[in-house]
Amino acid sequence: MQSAAFSPRTLEAIYRFAFLLTGDAATASSAVLDALREGAAAAQFRNDNHRNAFMAMKVRALCLKAAPPTDAGEASSGFHLMPEPQRSALALFYLGLVAPADIPQLFHLKPEGFADALAAGRDFLRERLTSSPA
């Protein structure tokens, strides 16, 4: 059973990651369930951080394959409108699904590039949050 590999808290974070990438609950749910069916949880990993990273990348691949997100998405933060890999890196960073130190190598970023991507993402979110009603 899947629950043995991921805690409910981690499963929730995985779904939220997919939702942040797509901005659509149905697409996110489908991507997460498909990734779990593909057996991402069954593989052997050195630790939970590696397992979560593998699962996150699997979900990301399925999300990016799905229809491209539009501004009409359900997510008010507009997270899903950010470019890749900034969007994925920032989502993992905020959700705490993967240790921040491991995120840059997932997207082949240098520490400086990762820091820049986070800064650009923060600027985007600050603008969205300031302009949107609280």
């Binding site: 499963l11 593909e38 933060s77 520490p111 400086e112 820091a115």
Partner: protein
């Protein structure tokens, strides 16, 4: 540590993470400290937002019950998989292989020992002037007796489904020293049709399934040969025309003839 390095450390820091010595050092400059505080405020706000994203009802339950290896089939993913060059190449290769196998299978289905001798009977027809045939207008079914009386050949009979057809002429010729009966059929508004009757063993003809027609084409003729198990003779119908015409003719006979 310069400002650039300090900024990399501070920008990559998530609120709640342990604050090690390098982080403390990066906070040393007042302007960077203020920058980080503004960043941390935003981070806390975003983190509370993303952690509050609700899950669709029942999804968590589904996620905990998923069994690996049972991915549902999605037409979109199947379609995109078909567009992958290796899959496409494999499919084309498979189609070619199936085509070749079908070709050989069809060829094998129409092949039988002694086929060359039968082919030669048709080729002989190509060289005929018409004068070789003896005019004889009667029902094809009556020719068995005629061959018996005139040439002493037993069992050179026309099968019952062809017995009612009118003959125009007939002859007996020898191929490799063995007798072959040839009958020209009188057909109005239709291409020429010939019947051949011969003993299977004379020409080494062995039909794997004697009850079925073996159809082949030879130059502008299409022919169908069938074995008669009881008399050990072969009966062949040849028409000047396309294979499909002959197949249609044989089908019409089987519909007309009960049993």
């Amino acid at each position: 540590m310069n400002a650039k390095e300090a900024r990399i450390i501070l920008r990559s820091h998530r609120p709640g993470q342990p604050q090690d010595a390098r982080f403390q050092k990066a906070l040393g400059e007042e302007s960077l400290k203020q920058e980080y505080q503004r960043q941390a405020e935003l981070d806390n706000r975003v983190m509370s937002l993303v952690h509050a994203i609700p899950l669709p009802e029942g999804l968590l339950d589904k996620m905990t019950k998923v069994e690996p290896g049972k991915r549902r089939l999605d037409w979109r993913s199947a379609r995109s998989a078909l567009k992958q060059p290796p899959v496409l190449a494999a499919l084309i290769g498979l189609a070619v292989m199936v085509g070749i196998l079908v070709f050989f299978w069809l060829d094998r289905m129409q092949s039988f020992p002694g086929r060359e001798a039968v082919f030669r009977m048709i080729s002989t027809t190509q060289e005929m002037s018409g004068a070789e045939l003896e005019p004889l207008i009667t029902e094809a079914g009556k020719l068995g007796d005629w061959f018996m009386l005139k040439y002493g050949l037993e069992d050179f009979n026309v099968p019952p489904e062809f017995a009612g057809m009118k003959t125009a002429a007939c002859r007996l010729f020898k191929q490799d020293g063995f007798p072959v009966a040839q009958i020209a059929i009188k057909r109005e508004n239709a291409a020429g049709m010939l019947f051949f009757i011969f003993r299977a063993e004379d020409f080494g003809v062995k039909l794997p399934s004697p009850d079925r027609w073996y159809i082949f084409t030879q130059e502008d003729w299409s022919a169908a040969v069938r074995g008669e198990a009881e008399t050990k003779t072969c009966f062949m119908v040849a028409v000047r025309g396309k294979r499909q015409q002959l197949e249609d003719f044989l089908k019409s006979l089987s519909k007309e003839t009960p049993g």
